[in-house]
Symmetry: D3
Subunit: 287 residues, 6 copies
């Protein structure tokens, strides 16, 4: 079984969950406090109401751990598992009041992260057998980047750089600004190579085939091919000729992803994985 | 012009944006630092690449305000405006390095919030002329509730309770747990009424018509009609007979929203507004 | 035995206690560090030096839990219990140094919260047998609202809204400002009803009997009768005639509370419960 | 005019006020948002409804500064001023909505701090002409120590140590614990003197006259005389004979404070200044 | 065995370590995640590669406690022990990935703190047999004061005041500013004595012998003798004549420390203990 | 003039300075409060008492900006400038009390950072004319990494990876753990290359020449040569033969740095830059 590691320490995960709980709880759950005696116990299962790839179980578990240490959470599946409609992925028991209070937030995390993992898995399936690797982008929900990139890994994808400090990516707007100052594309790339930390590769975005030779000459390690249809991508790959990695980006959908991959690129990045995945339908059923 | 008020103080908005910036920036923007001299100035416009309802301009402005006070942001539109493809909604100028560093986060906010506002506006349009009011749910992205509920208002919708402390909502799981202890539905509702803060109305979820009389007898102010097709909703409204407000919830789509509204309910709540809106396509074009 | 639930999670309580400890400890307890060997153990009891209602035991326990996990706290009573002079409400044992360092803060919480609970209980006793419910106000100590409202519940009182977001209360100053713009009282109330979240009741303050008909016509659910002597309250209750709840507020003392209640109001709110209760005399006696 | 300095930086004061505002505001002021247009301006005065000593004006000003920079606050008096009933101590103007939202918190601070300052001033008046200095204790409200000690200074009192790290005070419980280990009182005091930071004086609590010679012999700089009536205090002062400062503490009231002072002690400490002062009646009147 | 108490609660220590871990970890340890399976266990020892005094073991232990509760840390020595080259001071075992991730930060703390303790011990050894006590200064690394002052104690030194609020120290710049306003040195010292908290001693810096009589007359408890060679110190001690404590400060090195002490001063303060100690060479060896 | 950019936003810098100020200030500067009237103004200069490279001026300025916005700071030099003994690098004016209170912390930052920059500059000078670039390590003071790495740049050095997430560095301990599981060195490097983010280069530590061929075969981009004398380094460079970058690390001193560089390595990393630089002597002189 493939194991996907969540890259947040218990500490960081709990800090994140704590803020989200505060947002939902305000000064207390007035309904549950009015109705449910603190000593009443209950048990429930987390059920997938549609098929998909599981992501977020440790996050949902953390919601209850932060809310009430008396709640017991037991996962029946692991993040990254593909499950059928009706599958119970976890069981939860403890004070009924705490289960009722934490339910919505736990599900909000699970539904969003499983939605991302499920969409990712469909893209990964499309690419199967081609040499291309599916990666995400920085188009994530503000505040949830680590979790959303984790969900992408749960779906079988890989992560692009986490943020601005762990990858060099020279984009069209960088080039435009340098161009206005009379710096050529090749010179811009060379400057990035010289000034950037020596442990980072240099990736450069191009939107025309005639830019490729310049960025290679400047020392690019990776060429990002922006918004090119599959035949153009194939031509780009031919021009790069193994001198750098190639990444297709922009306008990639489930419909054209395989064609792009078959054009020979090394990487395919898809922003929709994180910015437009719909939530999966998941519920908490009390026994 | 309709004005939508953002319910976050400058202080809270900046705190939120600060956390999101830290997430993206890590210890610094290595690409921009390698390439762009801090004294170079630039100017750009925020352009809608598809039609939609604007939401998030003050948030995007706050991103740059936190990042670098030398950046000037000028909105050409207000949140809540419906704009056509190609519209420039704001202009931004200042140190090129800061514009490049803040661009992605500012767009991430704008794309998500405008996506929510745009989807909301389509539902609102469906309901036009019926007496029903469109409301959101607590199915928001953890950490972004205030902003997402603001985006719903930008789209012309109304907000349901913000969280667990500012509204009483007795749900199926509450009723199930009380039922197991021998508390009848009517008694449960009466208990909620007696124990809840006197300033809050009591809303109760029902999924069968025969529960309506009990919840009214228990003192419910609002009846949430869960997952009922339009004809059943109409019957429910007839049974409630003005003794409480009625809210349709569950399974509402753009296809059936108008029919539900025409069944006579007062409120229609749609979780998809916040959990499954896709991001709008918005970019930052440098001059 | 009546159980009063504290509406702060362990997490929030510890965060609050942590800030208060930092305030008292600074960089360390120089006296205890100079005198007491860390291995010396001690035992003590928390003793009420005057009769009163207990409130704050879990808070005092949290002080020691945050300070030193090796300290053991055992409560002999529960918050909400009325105890006689000399009662030992809890026993504490562990490293003597930690007991000495945490003593003052633990007592500061207990003395203030028990003071509030005790004063509340005296008001509740005054109202016994009348239909009126005693409630608190927002006149709490900045930073301690949840704990002080909890102490009111320990004393047998109920809570008014927690803050500005979980209750609609149209006050004299709102009305004055709208009046200056030509908005009538009835129109103001109607505007509040239309714009406020549908799950909240609308409460409106009046200080003259002739305002009552207007606020009822505007749709008020609760009428706050400000600073009226008992006979005027009785007349107000007669005028409202069951069309809304009534709340007496302003100028209520132990001397006149019962008369106000007998005027027939549903609620009596007293700011002094939280802003002017004196601390109870409670000590920690080492064995 | 005497000037009292607030020992919190703007930064710390705003952080404190920010937490208190969050506590009151929750996710927003639903009443004001429903009723008052953001563009409406208003003006009001902060009026003392009873005579007293002013304390807390910069704190109240900070509430509005944090809430909305568009609000203008102008103090007519300074903290430390004694004012008559009906005095307007400050004027405030700006967006009506912000004035309404911040009013309660600003008054909560002012009422509590002015209550402390007023009570302190009454004690100071009692001691006038004697050589004794009035000081506070660590019996402050958790979270408000700096502000409450500031209010004591506004009332003309002095501050005892701020917390556990800036003063050595050997109390009965320290002595009891050391006694159980066979350490004599004199040896305990000598140990404190040897081990405590060289910049701090050593103060020791005694509750019997026969302990005085021991604590002096041990090297005490200050002798705290606990719960002694005036004649016993006089005898204690005679025994100390100028070899240390003397502080009377415990059981001091407005009725016996002067007699205690006339017994010749250097300092008189009163816990009630901060733990049992009642709030002063102060309001915000809109024009 | 001498026991040195760390004056940070577990809570504060973990908060400090948490911030430092976040600084090193960023969004995750990419090397270890790429290479080491989370289930692999390992064991290692913390070895001193040069002789020195141990300081920081509880801090290093806290690094792993915060990072991963599954790591077991066992100290073989206590802080304050002098150990020889090659000594293993602690053993650590648990998930290999966590050991690899936390190694650097744990060593960074240990190397710096042990470096300070080792340098301190050399000074203490120089002073042995004289009556002078070695103390540190406020010249510590921003953010690490409590830990660095703890390291000084581990090395056998004592602490001067922790910060600005727990000690009165009138320095040359204070005197200069008052002098410009016409306040004499003696008057300045007297003002400090009158206005400072009664629990604090007053220390005054002098750089000329002719100032001594004035500061004693003003009421100084401690005289700081700034930058004086040993013979001048001896003369100063003679002039003070036991009427105050004396502290030598400024320009003290290992070469002249003993001579300064033999001049008869009570205290010798050395800023280099914390601002210029070099890191000790300490490593983590995996078995 | 070379400009060195500080990679902390104003926001982050102020947050860092705020924590450090709180550490020093505690609840207030008792000496200054006792002595200096808040209205007294003063002026002073920051003077280098020994020659060195300036680093930390914006940090020192931030100390006063956070403490008191009324203080004016004007730099006469820029970070990165080499200055002679006696140079005044900045002028400061404003309320005397604030200058006195902030002086020590401002100098603590300046002295440490300028100490690092000065030591770095000496190494850089040693390497002049060789092709080798001087880089720092992760052996920084916990909590000060960004500032200390900035100081290295001020001294003319370059930065190695900032932390664990922005560079792949396979160290001896990684290799040891994988070795115990039967993974060869070449396989370990290949695994790192496959699993690490595609934007990062892979650096691998070797301590024997016979490991070089394996790590190159595994796909290393950079070879870290640990603790090798210059002649061995030269042989290593010959073996690598341009197929990867080379970095000398471990045991590098001012005495042997040039010889190492002349061996032909691309990078030389020195931990002592940050862990053992002594503080520079810098003072604040009041006029």
């Amino acid at each position: 079984m493939r194991v996907v590691a969540i890259q947040l320490s218990t500490d960081e995960l709990q800090a994140q969950v704590r803020r989200a709980l505060a947002e939902d709880l305000g000064w207390g759950d007035v309904t549950t406090q009015a109705l449910v005696d603190p000593t009443v116990q209950a048990r429930g299962v987390v059920a997938f109401r549609e098929a998909g790839v599981v992501a977020g179980l440790p996050v949902a578990a953390a919601v209850f751990a932060v809310l009430d240490p008396a709640v017991r959470w037991q996962s029946h599946h692991a993040d990254g598992d593909a499950v059928a409609t009706g599958t119970s992925v976890a069981e939860i028991s403890g004070p009924a009041a705490s289960l009722l209070t934490g339910e919505r937030l736990a599900l909000n995390y699970l539904q969003r992260l499983s939605g991302i993992a499920t969409l990712t898995a469909r893209y990964v399936q499309e690419l199967e057998g081609t040499g291309a690797r599916l990666v995400d982008t920085r188009k994530t929900t503000p505040g949830l980047r680590s979790l959303e990139k984790y969900a992408v890994r749960c779906g079988g994808g890989s992560n692009h750089r986490h943020g601005l400090s762990d990858g060099v990516l020279v984009k069209d707007n960088h080039i435009a600004i340098l161009g206005r100052q009379g710096v050529s594309l090749q010179a811009a790339v060379a400057r990035a190579r010289a000034a950037a930390p020596h442990g980072l590769r240099v990736e450069v975005e191009v939107d025309r085939l005639d830019q490729i030779e310049d960025v290679i000459a400047g020392g690019a390690d990776i060429v990002l091919l922006d918004n090119m249809p599959a035949p153009v991508l194939a031509e780009a790959v031919r021009l790069v000729a193994g001198r750098a990695l190639t990444e297709a980006s922009g306008g990639i959908t489930l419909a054209n992803a395989r064609a792009c991959a078959e054009a020979g690129v090394d990487l395919i990045s898809v922003g929709a994985l994180t910015h437009s995945a719909r939530a999966l339908d998941i519920g908490l059923d009390f026994e």
